[in-house]
Symmetry: C2
Subunit: 475 residues, 2 copies
């Protein structure tokens, strides 16, 4: 098969082609932007969802499922919220042949599905904090170009919602959520920036919004996680209140935490290469593939030895496959590399005689490891692989970001860090006549912490400032 | 709190009350029949879904997710199918303010979402069998009374779909699916009957339909699982074809396998009692709860010993909780019994001194077990509990079913097994003027295999017959 398009020169051609060849998704479904999670795509999604659950449940989040359909009357309760989603809501108008009295929205997000119930669930300060999440699909009638995982109309979505005593507790929840998101991206070997959205670009209804951005390349960014503080902006219209210790009625503050399938798109974009997908070990549906390379004379014993290795690794908790098909080894390497398996174990007569295996990782690093403490050795190889993956991703990340002092240096080729006085006027000027947005003020440098220090003066008005702002072009 | 309504005398009062008190679901959501999966409800659902995955994946089914929205043009391709679902489909007509060119159905089931893709995926006999499943929600605009888990408008649904070379392969798949369903209900300690639906009551579009029925009590039945053989009824209109070994184009045969959240409703209905829910160990979100009963003087050591027991069980793979709150033991027993936990471990100073725990299971069976091989002993206690649960459920099942020889014996109080000649005329006569249906011909007696033998003559025309038919009133 011909080689993949050049990822650096033609990112989206590469992206589409690698997803199609590996059969990660099928975008030929007859509704635009509604893609099929194929068996292979789902096998990765299952690991992503598991990783998210692992990292959010220790914060006290409990899993739930709220209904998909939201009455228009509930959707309208928070004015900015409905205004923000008005253009992208799918409306159900009929059940069978019956026209419905109240139109039903397919949830674009679940605030207005959950909060009528929170109003019933929360009575007293003893009920707080309330922390629930769901991993379900949400629907947005996107008018922009759709792209698998990155912009779709039916979105696989993690959303966490909390109800807190007041503002400081909600602030602390935001911090805890961001920490958990950092833990998720660390497991994915995925560097990112964190910024606080400007006032004019907050989530509809939020008090403040914090976004985590993956740098795709050029000046392009991809929002892969968001955490919002709602103050009591929703609690009031939805009638969520509690009795405090002194018996007085209070409005709680709320937060939300969202991660969509975009995160999976970012993992594909970040680690994939000219040979195909590359999965960090945390979410690789198969972490280790075993390829027996027997000679005619020792076929049976090499296969038996390979199966023994498979069983040991499987018992040790690894996700492992043994490829004993008739294909030649080269064809197998090609196919498993395309699918992004972190480690390949090659087993021939020499390995068998030495009670060892040859390990080749997806970054082409090669080693021979002993089968004494096979599981321990494979674990070390996976860690080594993840470390190398993160180093590679971090180097690319550094190369995609530049401190920019002058307006005329704002570029199509790189994401800029600029000084910003914080005024909407200067913020809007940054965007004027350029295909970039002021994404927000930097909250967390991610892997850039060594570049910290004071920001330069505001790139527009030259006033002194203490804030860095991120300027890029959201995908 | 007052005691629960009498389950035998007032089943639905009991059912609603036990679900409300245990907070298994919240039906106050402002769309009728769209209930909320609360944290507790979801914790059971998670185990149910895991059990289903465990039992269907060894058959070769691979998990996927297909889109929720189906174009009306696809829905209409199989004539009987759309006719069967016409009255209960929710229609999306608008995206934002834009009226859609083609209305989109919220899937009531996923044949017409999956099969356009199967037409692309299947090319050759080498691509068969294709077996995929999804665990997602489907939507049906039900006009009958809604009841949590039993009849809702947004339904948590397992659906397996296969494409097979031909009729015998599809028949074999049906058998394999029914075997896996039996394995699921065995794990749930849930006896059921299996019948083949009469021609006039098949799934819309099916060649034949097989249903698994739980007997609720009185003459009421609850369909908890279905397997359908579609022949090439869908393959033809959807253009699914393959090239056989000789290069000739063939129409594959298809099957489906469905299990909805009703199965959870049946587990609640089957095992629950006057003290609340009762979970079989396979799906109990907490299998073992530890209640320390210290005296003032040995508080710390009993708590430490209890924590040690918890850790051992948790490491042993059990789902375990330690309730060290300040409530008195009686209140704790009450709360955990309501939630259906199979085993309660009571730990006081005597147990501690004997290196033992007292086990009381949810059926009130009591024993003292040693903490030498604690995990092994707890496993045995769980098996003993499941065995007793199944025996109790089987006895109730026997009491709800009667061989009926005469028309005037068809009763409101029991499900009837009758002889049936197989004619639609006689079948319809059974239903005439009675609030019962002829559910189908018996395929599998379930726990009734000892009552087999030849059926009596047809209950209507008195002709000799070899088929038993099941007569009851579907919930």
């Amino acid at each position: 098969m011909s080689s993949l398009p050049d990822k650096e020169k033609a990112f989206f051609e590469w992206y589409n082609e690698v997803l199609e060849r590996s059969f990660m998704t099928d975008k030929r479904y007859p509704v635009k932007g509604s893609n099929v999670w194929t068996p292979f795509g789902f096998s990765v999604l299952r690991q992503m969802d598991r990783l998210i659950r692992e990292k959010v449940e220790p914060l006290g989040y409990q899993e739930t499922i709220f209904p998909t359909l939201i009455p228009e009357t509930e959707m309208q309760k928070e004015a900015k919220h409905i205004k923000g989603f008005n253009e992208e809501v799918y409306w159900v108008t009929h059940g069978g042949k019956t026209q419905l009295d109240v139109r039903l929205a397919l949830r674009p997000t679940s605030e207005t599905a959950m909060y009528p119930m929170f109003a019933l669930w929360v009575r007293s300060h003893k009920d707080l904090p309330l922390r629930v999440y769901q991993i379900q699909n949400v629907f947005r009638y996107e008018t922009k170009t759709t792209r698998p995982f990155i912009r779709v109309r039916e979105i696989h979505f993690y959303e966490g919602h909390t109800v807190q005593l007041g503002e400081p507790e909600a602030d602390a929840q935001v911090k805890a959520d961001l920490d958990s998101f950092n833990a998720i991206t660390r497991a994915l070997c995925l560097p990112h920036l964190t910024d606080k959205r400007p006032e004019w670009d907050k989530f509809p209804g939020a008090y403040y919004s914090i976004a985590c951005e993956y740098l795709v390349g050029g000046n392009k960014t991809l929002q892969i996680g968001t955490v919002h503080h709602y103050k009591d902006n929703f609690a009031k219209p939805f009638g969520i209140g509690y009795e405090d210790k002194d018996g007085a009625r209070q409005s709680p503050h709320q937060t939300t935490y969202g991660i969509s399938e975009r995160l999976l798109g970012a993992v594909v974009a970040c680690h994939g290469d000219e040979r195909g997908l590359v999965w960090p070990s945390a979410v690789a549906p198969i972490q280790v593939v075993i390829i027996p390379i027997p000679k005619e004379s020792d076929m049976a014993s090499v296969l038996a030895y390979s199966e023994d290795v498979r069983q040991k690794l499987s018992s040790g908790g690894f996700r492992v496959a043994l490829d004993s098909s008739d294909e030649r080894p080269g064809a197998k390497y090609y196919a498993w590399e395309l699918k992004g398996v972190p480690l390949r174990l090659e087993i021939g007569p020499r390995e068998m005689n030495e009670n060892a295996v040859t390990v080749v990782n997806r970054l082409k690093d090669k080693a021979k490891i002993s089968c004494e403490d096979l599981c321990g050795n494979v674990r070390k190889e996976l860690e080594k692989f993840d470390t190398a993956l993160l180093a590679k991703a971090t180097a690319a990340f550094h190369g995609r970001l530049r401190i920019t002092m002058e307006q005329n240096e704002l570029s199509d080729n790189i994401v800029s860090l600029v000084g910003w006085c914080g005024s909407e006027e200067c913020g809007k000027k940054v965007e004027e006549g350029r295909e970039v947005s002021l994404l927000g003020t930097l909250e967390d440098f991610g892997p850039l912490s060594d570049r910290g220090g004071n920001p330069p003066p505001c790139i527009m008005c030259s006033n002194e400032t203490t804030q860095w702002a991120v300027v890029g072009r959201p995908l």
